[in-house]
Symmetry: C2
Subunit: 731 residues, 2 copies
């Protein structure tokens, strides 16, 4: 069953900016969940028309209440439904018949409660498909369009304070956590544009909302809480589009641990797939992964500024030498650098600051700042003009009596510069925060958190730049039609033999079809054929049994190395076939593979696996203990560009071994990178056929000497999925 | 020159609880640093007598002002000095002559400004030693005894609000960061007992203050900011004492990175030694290392409670399923476990909670809590009686209208249980925070930070328990007098040869003196001696040159392996001596070492290095790429118990190799652990002789087959430091 997705074309614009709203199942008690949306719409001053539906009332707060949807005299843009689950499908159908194109279903009691609820949810999906309706939920807390005061939600955060508009949009798979985030954000003066609780995502999924909000002018950054991507491909597409637009998407993906994944499964039935794959997808598509709730909000703060940190060199102005050291530590830990000042900058600072102040970066303004607040602005200007300075980070504490003056001064200098100025202010007074927020100066309390947020943005912008340079990879997925045809033929033949495993010989043919180097080899089916082998191959050779029933050839004793004559090959042939039969009397023995011996080099393992959310995933790691003991593996969803393949290798802890250690030569990384990328294209082309691939080992020779896949095995999908609709989220 | 230290016996009690104070160099302007202490003492209501000294005034605020210290009619307990640096020594001497036993020197212009300041600081130290004075500073922000309102400080934090007494004492090497911490803590309702800015530590060092505050009844936890331990041994002793008392010491040690260390050197001239050694010392002595300022305060919060998390199993009650998953992730990441509920607990919860609530841990109370606040208390009780639950973590958000009620309910249940209850409350209202602080319930806003703080305490308490069980290791440092004597003889003989290096043969004798197994071997000085070797040794053997001038024997070709007859040994002898002479014609060749060949096994490297703050440090790692490429090394200051040695091994990423992988046998970890401990005792016994030791490799055989040091080299200290006063901080 196919899930939602923007390709079905429901109109999210109508949903998020309705000119009129029908509330179905409204209560006259604003203390009840079903009473809150109406209450909030009125309280926050929604400007459109509101129609109420509930047979139990004639009016609420002077607004007429209709018996059912059909009785509502005008067609609204949006329906808010908070009926008991069982009554929802019919009400939805009535809305649809009236021409309503969007609905928020706040009710629970659907897929999350089991089979019966699942049936109700299926009906909702069916109605939505039939009428091309945009549906938020069910089992959600609704959404808020802050700018237009559409409070289609019952969230507690709306009980307090006011809607504070701003450049942040939130999309979340937990209504309760979402409301907590909104409330904390409001207290910290972080303004929102859209806020969405996605619920069961029967129709619209997380990715659809992200796709929508990033296109809205007022949204500068998206923050999200996610347990399960559901539609992996749509998420990637949305993320790539956001990269193009330069609107950062930061997501707290929960369930990263085994215990967390279990809790997530019990929370929303999320079966999210491997968390490591999420890490890889996020890296690939430029989604910033927030570690925790606070960091998500920190990212909202730093991304809200029109001047985002893009490069790593940081100048630090601090009123505490100690804090300067804490900041220096954090810079190094998170991958930023302390800027090295030009001589002119040092001279300028010497003229500005008292003689006992440290002029190295971090610059200690000392407590003199208490007496002379212009020390800060003058120092800021001196540092910001230095071409070696990419960003300026200020550390302050207290300063209550001068807080407003300082904040205003900072804002004045910062908005006059194209370089990002970030403030960390321990015990920051509210007036100062307010000034800094209004002028879009990222302001934090803890200095380490400020550095971390800056570092995440610098990394994001580095990825983004690379992505833009490589020109929208996701649009131009390379195809290899000739290779594909050859490969599919090989797979077809293997399927005919009725086995789920493609053994070495055919697996290597498959690799060859994708230009992955394999040793020269010939399969012989008869001892006498060996006489002709001599002319086609160079000694020494290795001989191995070829049988789909014997995967562990070495265990069977069916591999013999280092043969350098026809006589020895013949002897080996006899011994191998004999041992293979002893090992598995029922084995179908196709023949014996005679292959040139591959020289030694660095052993690498390349694999393909299938992820339930993101499809084929390529893994790479070093042989020996590295993959098996240290789990030192890097992975990415296919396809993988050469640039990404290089990044994958750099992520390996064992990467130095590829660079050459203790005088050993560096490996041919350029060829390795090409092969990883080719394997990834194979993974994508043959995703409906190949369940798993293992190249183990691939020998990496010294630089310019290439690589060679020495052994490989392919496990096929149970049946070809060719032509099947990709599974989206219902398994 | 010897630094301060509690052994000199200045009385910190007099300093921190003075019955009277003389302020030398007082200003009548409370806006000036020299005017603030008097202003604060009056403002906060210090109960003792105050005498003022400044020839420029006759009185300030109605308090008489004397021309100089000698004129003050009564001897005070404490002097607060804020004169220009050059005038300080004389004033201090006058104070001392009057019998004043303690002084805070707030003035700057000492060691931090260079040679001239260093001279002034030396004079201060000399006076302090002569009169046994306790001196805080110079170049510090002073100290505060919150309980007794002794505000011997000029810190900005005192300008605002009031002193909030509590169980936290702070000791810090940055006055400005310390004041920021105090201010933020006050805003978060975290109360203090003592607050100290240590300054240049001319007399009293960081460790002295820690030693003092942990003995004070009102102090339950010490938080510190440190750049340089200065007196490493004193810090360890203070930490061990704190472990005994069960008062956690949490320190933010800055300068952990290269950039940070550089910034620290420029801040206070701190040359702190290797940060990795701090990590090891902290682990060894049970100091909790805070990663950043926020975490330091989080630790203050969790340690302030009389019920500290000690065991890892956590029950979670949450009003957000999403937050429950975030918490589950954090638990796994930081080493806690989600408790598994007993059937009775599940049954009890089923009766309490609505049918749609998740009864797995984390327990989702759902938004029903909004309507029925007693759901929380009843669930809490059910979980707290479960023997499988060690701690309870509650997640709340908002709940503004019910906040006080909820907080009071939580406090009631929590204080009635012996198990720690921790609250994380996003958007926690101040009234709730206030109730929770007053009842010592650790309360945080961010759930991940709550988990991290709990995990740090669980780890702390595990270490503490182990320490108490192993019964105060630091008191009973084992001595090996016979071994020591033998070892010193070997070193003496090596020194006579005039070389700074002890080559393999003697180095192995040294190891043997400490019961570190080495292969049986005989040194021969003459080819003919080889005939007699046959009876004493088992073939095959290896022969190696013995020369203090040839450290890299293999490079010289002066090692020949696998000899199994006298004839072959003789041939090898000739070849080795020839090659050695070719390699280094001036080399003094002592002879040729004939040694039994050691079988193969897991190769380990054990080393000794000297740290400038903590003395001899033992390192251990695996051979091959692990130490050299991956820097996978674990270290501890000597001495190291067997338990600690085991922990060192467990910290290695390559540890699984010792446990045996892919069917290989596990190594003899028990013997390895003993050898690491023995080497550490050697390091301590011979710390004045040995600069560096390298055992490379030590072969670890399969379990119960022992270990063997196959090669070793020792580099001696330039001269024996025997009898020298240990360098404390003046280099």
């Amino acid at each position: 069953m196919s899930g939602g997705g923007i390709q079905q074309g429901p109109d999210l614009k109508v949903m998020f900016s309705p000119r009129s709203i029908t509330i179905v199942g409204v209560s006259n008690d604003p203390g009840k969940l079903s009473g809150k949306p109406f209450h909030f719409l009125q309280r926050y001053g929604y400007q459109g028309d509101i129609y109420l539906v509930n047979p139990r009332y004639r009016q609420i707060d002077g607004v007429r209440c209709y018996e059912n949807v059909a009785k509502v005299p005008r067609q609204a843009d949006l329906a808010i439904i908070s009926l008991p689950a069982a009554a929802v499908p019919q009400a939805l159908e009535e809305c649809a018949e009236q021409g309503i194109k969007a609905a928020v279903i706040l009710s629970s009691g659907f897929a999350e409660v089991g089979e019966k609820g699942q049936e109700l949810e299926d009906r909702i999906r069916e109605i939505a498909t039939r009428y091309r309706m945009a549906i938020c939920g069910p089992n959600c807390a609704g959404f808020i369009n802050v700018t237009e005061k559409v409070t289609a939600s019952f969230v507690q955060a709306l009980e307090y304070g006011e809607l504070y508009p701003g450049p942040v949009s939130f999309v979340g798979q937990s209504g309760a956590l979402g409301t907590a985030i909104m409330a904390v954000a409001a207290r910290d003066l972080i303004g929102f544009n859209f806020w969405v609780s996605t619920g069961n995502e029967a129709v619209l999924t997380f990715a659809d909302y992200v796709s929508f909000v990033i296109e809205q002018e007022d949204t500068r950054v998206v923050i999200g809480y996610m347990e399960d991507a559901r539609n992996g491909e749509a998420l990637k597409q949305a993320a790539y589009r956001a990269l193009e637009l330069g609107k950062p998407v930061a997501i707290l993906k929960a369930g990263r641990s085994e215990m967390g994944a279990k809790a997530a499964a019990s929370h929303t039935g999320a079966l999210a797939g491997s968390d490591k794959v999420y890490d890889a997808v996020f890296r690939q598509a430029g989604i910033i992964r927030a570690h925790d709730v606070e960091q998500l909000l920190d990212l909202a703060v730093i991304c809200s500024s029109p001047r985002q940190p893009e490069k790593p060199r940081v100048a630090v102005a601090t009123i505490s030498g100690g804090a300067g050291i804490v900041i220096a530590d954090a810079c190094e830990e998170f991958g930023l650098q302390l800027a090295k000042f030009a001589p002119e900058t040092i001279q300028a600072l010497q003229e500005i600051l008292p003689p006992f102040a440290a002029i190295n970066n971090p610059v200690d303004l000392t407590t003199s700042l208490l007496l002379y607040p212009d020390l800060l602005t003058r120092s800021m200007r001196a540092m910001l003009v230095d071409p070696g300075v990419d960003n300026l980070l200020i550390f302050l504490s207290l300063q209550y009596s001068k807080a407003e003056e300082l904040a205003r001064n900072i804002a004045e200098v910062a908005t006059g510069s194209s370089k990002p100025v970030v403030v960390s202010w321990m015990g920051m007074p509210r007036e100062a925060l307010s000034i800094l927020r209004d002028t879009h100066i990222p302001a934090f309390t803890d200095p380490t958190r400020a550095v971390k947020a800056m570092a995440l943005l610098v990394d994001y912008n580095r990825r983004r730049e690379l992505y833009l340079k490589l020109n929208s990879k996701y649009k131009v997925a390379p195809t290899h039609s000739s290779n594909q045809a050859a490969a599919k033929e090989i797979i077809k033949n293997s399927r005919i033999s009725g086995k789920g495993v493609i053994p070495e010989f055919a697996a290597k043919q498959l690799l060859r079809a994708y230009d992955v180097p394999v040793p020269r080899g010939i399969m012989v089916k008869d001892e006498d054929e060996l006489a002709q082998v001599e002319d086609k191959i160079t000694f020494p050779v290795v001989t191995k049994v070829v049988s789909p029933d014997i995967v562990h050839k070495t265990d069977a004793g069916a591999v013999i190395l280092g043969l350098d004559s026809v006589v020895k090959m013949k002897e080996a042939y006899r011994r191998i076939t004999m041992r293979a039969r002893e090992y598995n009397p029922d084995a179908y023995i196709q023949g014996v593979l005679v292959e040139e011996m591959a020289g030694s080099g660095i052993e690498v393992i390349i694999g393909i696996k299938q992820d339930r959310r993101f499809g084929p995933v390529v893994t790479v790691g070093l042989g020996g203990v590295f993959v098996e003991v240290f789990k030192d593996v890097s992975l990415r969803p296919a396809p993988v560009t050469e640039q990404e393949a290089r990044e994958m290798l750099q992520e390996l802890r064992a990467y130095p071994l590829l660079l050459g250690i203790r005088g050993s030569e560096p490996g041919d990384i350029n060829e390795l990178v090409k092969v990883v990328s080719r394997v990834s294209h194979m993974a994508l082309d043959l995703k409906n056929e190949i369940a798993e691939l293992d190249i183990n080992p691939l020998i990496v020779y010294p630089d310019r000497y290439g690589v060679m896949a020495v052994d490989a095995v392919v496990i096929l999908q149970k049946e070809s999925h060719e032509g099947a609709v990709p599974d989206s989220y219902h398994n």
